[in-house]
């Protein structure tokens, strides 16, 4: 076997691409033919005594009822089997012993099941969800009883993250850049890279942070769409686990606040619904929080918020690609060293290519051939596999993280200041663009049906 063939079959980067492609391919066949159900396990919302009304009440299912259902256990088996087999083969090809990997994977998977169960509880599901609880569960174990040695072969954060990102690539549809015409492009795409550059400058020059992967991960989370963007940029820049933990924790906590306070402030200032919605879409990190905060201002605001956020969602791929290229050509090189095309290729994280190919196939092959509804249905299936990969990754991060390491990473609160200053800049710049495009002073105000 040549060295080249050996690399594409035996390195974690390439294996993540192949595993991601297999999941996407099976998902596509399942949905397009309707021959079988490939959807992974997802806990329905359950409560611990909260009084629910409206849609939330209609969709909550008591935990006991969920666990008593045969379909639930079948889905659990399917999810464990699909991910277990694929990751075991992957681990074997990277040189891991199957006899060590299988019990370890079962352990990490069961911890992930606990995480998904906990994060499906009504209040926890609404505000925090899996990323936060996966870190907490992992860290509780590693910082109390310690991570058992037998579990360590399956603590493979990067492998799971890269695979999840390739699967996620299929949901990044290029056609969405035109969803809100020049208005959306202006608010989402003109502002986002400027905020990233500002935070890069502020973090490296003003705060003098020498941890560049942390700076770019934080900048992407702030300007693009929180957790998902942090995962993509963090993997592209090869950031440390603690950096990702910190970025995501800060982003999640601030999103809870922004979801509640931003609509109130917008209303207090008397901004029009379309302007308020676009401002929310451009500045609140998570997509769910954007839709909820937008809905507080009315239907038109919710539509504008979602349209802007949709465009930001597709930016994840571009940002991750250029972050990987930037780090391969500039950050990781020695001073004065010229980096040739071969060296760039060697350093470039290959899973980004898988991510991009998945996105291109979805946008320019499957979408025109099968239609938007089918692509949405496929993504409905793939999203849960993406989430399971990310939950496995975040449990692994938690199992590998020491509280003291995180405290050390805080370095005088610099990451927090980077987020706060960056987010403030993001809000000011987005507001300026929203006013320029949607106030009616310069351009006609668009109509949303």
């Amino acid at each position: 076997m040549s060295a080249k063939t050996s690399k594409i079959l035996h390195t974690e980067d390439w294996l993540a691409v192949w595993i991601g492609f297999i999941i996407i391919a099976v998902g596509l066949v399942a949905v397009l033919t309707g021959a079988f159900d490939f959807s992974a396990l997802k806990f329905k919302t359950w409560t611990v005594g909260e009084q629910l009304t409206g849609a939330a009440a209609a969709k909550a299912v008591p935990l006991g009822q969920q666990l008593a259902s045969g379909a639930f256990w079948l889905k659990m088996l399917l999810t464990a089997a699909v991910l277990g087999v694929l990751f075991t083969v992957g681990a074997k090809l990277t040189g891991e012993k199957v006899s060590r990997f299988v019990p370890a994977f079962v352990g990490v998977f069961l911890l992930s099941v606990v995480v998904r169960l906990v994060s499906a509880e009504f209040t926890l599901n609404r505000y925090l969800e899996w990323a936060f609880w996966a870190l907490i569960v992992g860290m509780l174990i590693s910082n109390t009883v310690g991570t058992p040695k037998w579990l360590k072969p399956a603590v493979r954060t990067e492998f799971y993250i890269k695979t999840g990102l390739v699967v996620m690539g299929f949901s990044v549809l290029f056609s969405n850049i035109a969803k809100f015409g020049l208005y959306g492009l202006g608010i989402a795409w003109m502002v986002t890279p400027v905020v990233i550059l500002f935070m890069w400058w502020f973090g490296t020059k003003v705060l003098k942070m020498d941890n560049k992967p942390l700076v770019i991960t934080m900048a992407s989370a702030t300007s693009v769409c929180g957790t998902s963007a942090a995962i993509a940029s963090g993997a592209a820049s090869n950031c440390k686990k603690d950096d990702l933990t910190m970025t995501i924790s800060i982003s999640i906590i601030f999103t809870v606040l922004m979801m509640v306070f931003e609509p109130l402030i917008i209303r207090a200032f008397g901004m029009s619904p379309i302007m308020g919605g676009a401002l929310i879409g451009g500045t609140v990190d998570s997509t769910g929080a954007v839709a909820v905060a937008g809905s507080v201002l009315g239907g038109e605001a919710e539509k504008a918020a979602v349209l802007v956020k949709m465009i930001q969602n597709i930016l994840i791929g571009f940002i991750a690609f250029f972050v990987a290229l930037f780090f391969a050509t500039r950050v990781d090189r020695k001073s004065g060293q010229k980096v040739g095309a071969g060296e760039i290729w060697t350093r470039f994280p290959k899973f980004i290519i898988g991510f991009f190919v998945a996105s291109l196939v979805a946008s320019f092959v499957v979408l025109p051939l099968a239609g938007a509804d089918q692509v949405k249905a496929v993504n409905g299936v793939l999203d849960q596999y993406k989430n399971w990969c990310f939950v496995l990754a975040f449990v692994s991060i938690g199992l590998d993280t020491n509280f003291r390491d995180i405290a050390r990473q805080m370095k005088g609160g610099k990451p927090l200041w980077l987020y706060i200053v960056g987010q403030t800049f993001n809000i000011v710049l987005t507001f300026a663009m929203v006013w320029f495009l949607l106030s009616g002073a310069v351009f006609p105000i668009p109509t949303l049906d």
Binding site: G54, K59, R126, L182, I196, I253, M310, G380, K414
Partner: protein
């Protein structure tokens, strides 16, 4: 190996205070269920658009009809991205 003794700077004390206030406010919001819409079956925990339950029906993302051909948006998108890439490289060189 002994670690050098670290002193608390004004920045780190301010960060501690801000962090505690933010965390306290987030806990208060969660305990009291603030900011949620009872008609929407999700919240800030849906990080990505596909995480939103039944997002195919829930998200109204075809509410605007773009007037220009797709290629115009694509070219503007790429041109702005290229400009930002050049600025980023320049910004990094100056440091």
């Amino acid at each position: 190996m002994r670690h050098p003794k670290r002193s608390l700077t004004a920045g780190s004390i301010a960060a501690l205070i801000v962090g505690a206030v933010v965390l306290g406010a987030a806990v208060y919001i969660m305990v009291n269920g603030l900011g949620l819409n009872p008609d929407l079956d999700f919240g800030a925990g849906a990080y990505y658009y596909a995480d939103i339950p039944d997002y195919q029906q829930t998200l109204d993302w075809d509410s605007y009809t773009a007037r220009l051909p797709f290629v115009v948006y694509l070219l503007l998108f790429l041109a702005w991205g290229f400009l930002m890439w050049c600025i980023w490289k320049r910004l990094d060189r100056k440091q």
